[in-house]
Symmetry: C2
Subunit: 185 residues, 2 copies
């Protein structure tokens, strides 16, 4: 009965986060209102704004773990060069995409707007470095096109396979990424 009543106050907080993640993934960030989230949890819209400073703050908290992992990946890529960096980028990004496919899915097409926000400003630069690594640090158009197709394709796709386990999705994504990125030099 006193299970983890140690911090009972966070129950609603977590419920709201979960509900927001579910909603965002289906109708997008702009397409989801605080009313929608509140209704799902069974509280008032004011309660949502009691637990989160703003709608943006809610999104930030939701994306924080994924962004942390992305920053770690960025650092790992920077520690390598050439083909090793490329492999690290592909492996790491696929891993990130699989683990956070729900969070990535909810950004579907709202990246441009969200990147404007200060909290997400550096994501833009990280993703540019990711594309460069995927392209093998070549500036040939073919290499850049292939890099963007794979990057965007994985990001856009991973959210569609919520039903199959990580261990099956990861190798499938890695295989197609490796095949697509074998750019002739």
């Amino acid at each position: 009965m006193l299970e983890d009543m140690a911090r009972p106050t966070t129950a609603t907080h977590d419920e709201l986060l979960a509900a927001a993640a579910r909603r965002f993934a289906v109708t997008g960030y702009k397409g989801t209102s605080l009313q929608d989230i509140a209704r799902d949890v069974g509280c008032s819209k004011a309660t949502v704004l009691y637990h989160f400073a703003s709608k943006d703050a809610l999104l930030c908290e939701l994306m924080a773990p994924a962004i942390t992992m992305l920053e770690e990946l960025d650092a790992r890529i920077a520690a390598h060069t050439g083909a090793e960096a490329r492999r690290a980028a592909a492996d790491g990004f696929v891993d990130l995409a699989v683990r956070f496919r729900r969070e990535i899915a909810l950004l579907r097409g709202e990246f441009p707007d969200l990147l404007q926000q200060p909290a997400f400003a550096h994501i833009q630069q990280i993703s540019e470095r990711l594309v460069a690594a995927f392209a093998g640090f070549s500036d040939r158009p073919e290499a850049r096109v292939a890099a963007l197709v794979v990057l965007a394709g994985i990001a856009e796709t991973c959210g569609e396979f919520l039903d199959i386990p990580d261990e099956q999705l990861r190798p499938a994504l890695l295989a197609v990424a490796y095949r697509a990125l074998e750019v002739t030099t």
Copy 2:
């Protein structure tokens, strides 16, 4: 002076279409207001709704050529089987993506919502047939993952290369698609 004054009334109409296409491509459909479009053209919001029955109607007219080409592609794929259908799908889709990259870009992430609309309802089924053709009509998860990555990657990417000519973008996209889709059978 009497150039093509034959139909001078369509000037604003076309300007509005062009402005809407530009805006939608940058800020998305939901993220663009009729005010924005009107301001770009230099007319009032009411004028936009004089030329188009609704915001949705504007989008429909904007997408009509691309949708027609997509339907033609669908028919062409249905006329083939196996590897031929797959090749027809890849070639045709890349061609469509290159030619209508602006229009495709503006649907970024708003597909889910827009497909709900009756006018776009059948696009859902066409895209499913496209994925199936890309996957070589296999239901193996690896094949379906690769198909979706390539399809979504191309759709998501083509709008990023508005500055390079069709003749350069098309072979680059085709190359990465062929590489990625060489699924081992």
